[in-house]
């Protein structure tokens, strides 16, 4: 369960809102990333109490990350753990998702050596014993409402009757442009016409990523380490860069473009296949 406000505790608890600790608070920052199948929460936190840090180091206390959306999920965090991955089939964040960290005692804890608490508690700290399993501190709550990375703002579709081919994929200044000689080629008017165009989306991504991977400003020999690349000034490349980063793609290679497309494109091919099977089943 997530604490939204201060509950009453019969002993000092480290939070950002109570003053029972003089040393500071318990802050949490979370960065959400995702690819086709997985959400990843990159976390940064600070426990501003030497006493509690020492308990954690001695395993007399345990850190937890709590993720609450449709239900509660608890993760025991190791001291050096800074990321949690969860399959999208087990977590939805389209409804409000709250994330909090807490510290739990794994044994009875005497507060005799706790120099971080306020004057009021310090007077009788020799008598404070917090029982095993009890809460010792909780962080601020980080809230997510839906994810924001939409791949298809990348595309534009245009009709051009003068085209010398049926289809032309062009890399524009901000978007990947798919030119069609006529509307029929877009499957206009058919059910699922949007999805039936997914192979062209795929082709467009292939072309754009190939150009990205082979750009000597970003890498060598068709291989790019995205962490080494600054945000590109080319606007289309900048969109691809942001999208790949958000979808946890770290490297790009001319030989592995298909894997990257799978990660960033939210099942374009699977949806296409489903649409075609659907048409077959309905006899059209």
């Amino acid at each position: 369960m997530i604490y939204k406000k201060d509950a009453n505790f019969p002993y000092p608890v480290l939070t950002n809102t109570s003053n029972s600790y003089e040393s500071g608070g318990f802050t949490l920052n979370v960065d959400l990333k995702e690819n086709t199948d997985t959400y990843r929460f990159d976390i940064e936190y600070e426990v501003e109490s030497a006493f509690l840090e020492q308990l954690l180091a001695r395993k007399q206390a345990q850190l937890f990350l709590i993720i609450q959306s449709k239900d509660n999920k608890f993760f025991r965090l190791q001291p050096d753990e800074r990321a949690i991955e969860i399959a999208k089939s087990r977590l939805s964040i389209n409804t409000r998702t709250s994330i909090q960290m807490s510290i739990q005692a794994t044994t009875d804890i005497s507060f005799r050596d706790n120099e971080d608490i306020n004057d009021f508690y310090r007077e009788f700290k020799d008598d404070i014993i917090v029982p095993k399993h009890a809460l010792l501190g909780f962080s601020n709550t980080v809230i997510f409402e839906g994810s924001s990375t939409k791949p298809f703002d990348l595309f534009e579709r245009k009709i051009d009757a003068t085209l010398k081919s049926d289809i032309k994929v062009e890399l524009g200044s901000e978007t990947i442009v798919i030119h069609y000689k006529n509307e029929d080629l877009q499957f206009a008017g058919m059910p699922m016409s949007g999805t039936l165009n997914n192979p062209y989306i795929y082709m467009g991504l292939q072309k754009a990523l190939h150009r990205f991977a082979t750009n000597p400003d970003y890498g060598d020999d068709g291989h790019v380490y995205l962490d080494d690349v600054e945000l590109p000034t080319d606007q289309l490349d900048a969109k691809l860069y942001r999208l790949m980063k958000a979808k946890m793609v770290y490297e790009l290679d001319v030989d592995s473009l298909d894997e990257v497309i799978y990660k960033i494109s939210d099942r374009v091919i699977e949806k296409y296949a489903t649409a075609v099977k659907g048409l077959e089943a309905s006899g059209d």
């Binding site: 509660n72 699922m192 649409a275 659907g278």
Partner: protein, 253 residues
């Protein structure tokens, strides 16, 4: 399979009910959003288990758990935990199945609302099935053991309901640990027992619910959802002792 999603306003709507009976919902665009979702497969499974004998109800639940566990849990959770998705699927793709299995739907709109358009929360049978199947398939690999745990859920449905109803307990590990403890110690019938020997506990006090209530009261001083099973078992027996004479049970803890 492509499923158009219903737009708001279909609930408690007499015209919608009539259109369902007449099979004219799909052709009426006014009922739908522009959104479409895709799922690979959607086999039939029981979606309503009330008003059955205990044996029938158990069979229906087991069938539902197995079908949902094997076919419905690979989609993104934003789909299989979404009321709009389930209502759309039932109305568009399951009409014949529903009318055959639950003919009382034809009798009144209130039956229709209660069986087909029931809110997607702990009282909804699909919700119970989805959350139970998720928890058990995630924690148990072996098919026979999964079936066993599904039976434990049905045999302790009151306790299961109570756990998935309250946010603090709606957690995979906690639900699984409590079910395991009840199963191992053979406490099922004791926990269902109505407490007649105290009159300070409100309406219909049951031993099992009271034990969970104790967990609720002691939280967060006892952070029960995060405990390992053996630690949880100790505390479980302590709380059980508030209501019955644990020494007399003859269970070894």
């Amino acid at each position: 399979m492509e499923i158009k999603l219903l737009s708001k306003g279909y609930k408690k709507n007499e015209q919608f009910y009539q259109d369902f009976l007449n099979d004219t919902i799909e052709s009426n665009d006014d009922y739908f959003t522009d959104e479409t979702v895709y799922i690979k497969e959607a086999p039939d499974f029981p979606i309503y288990m009330a008003k059955r004998s205990e044996d029938d109800r158990k069979q229906l639940f087991l069938e539902a758990f197995e079908t949902v566990g094997n076919h419905y849990l690979d989609s993104n959770r934003e789909l299989h935990f979404d009321e709009q998705f389930w209502h759309s699927l039932l109305v568009l793709k399951k009409r014949n199945f529903l009318l055959r299995e639950y003919p009382e739907i034809k009798e009144s709109i209130s039956n229709f609302n209660n069986i087909v358009l029931k809110s997607f929360d702990w009282e909804n049978y699909i919700y119970k099935t989805v959350i139970g199947a998720e928890y058990i398939t995630d924690l148990v690999e072996d098919e026979a053991t999964r079936k066993h745990y599904y039976e434990v859920i049905v045999d302790n449905l009151d306790l299961f309901n109570y756990m998935i109803k309250y946010e603090v307990f709606r957690n995979k590990q906690f639900v699984f640990n409590i079910l395991s403890i009840v199963d191992e110690l053979g406490l099922s019938s004791l926990l269902k027992k109505k407490i007649t020997w105290r009159d300070d506990l409100g309406d219909d006090p049951r031993v099992g619910r009271q034990v969970l209530l104790e967990f609720n009261k002691s939280y967060p001083v006892v952070m029960s959802p995060m405990l390992e099973k053996d630690e949880l078992k100790e505390i479980f027996m302590e709380y059980l002792g508030y209501y019955v004479d644990v020494a007399e049970l003859g269970v070894l803890v």
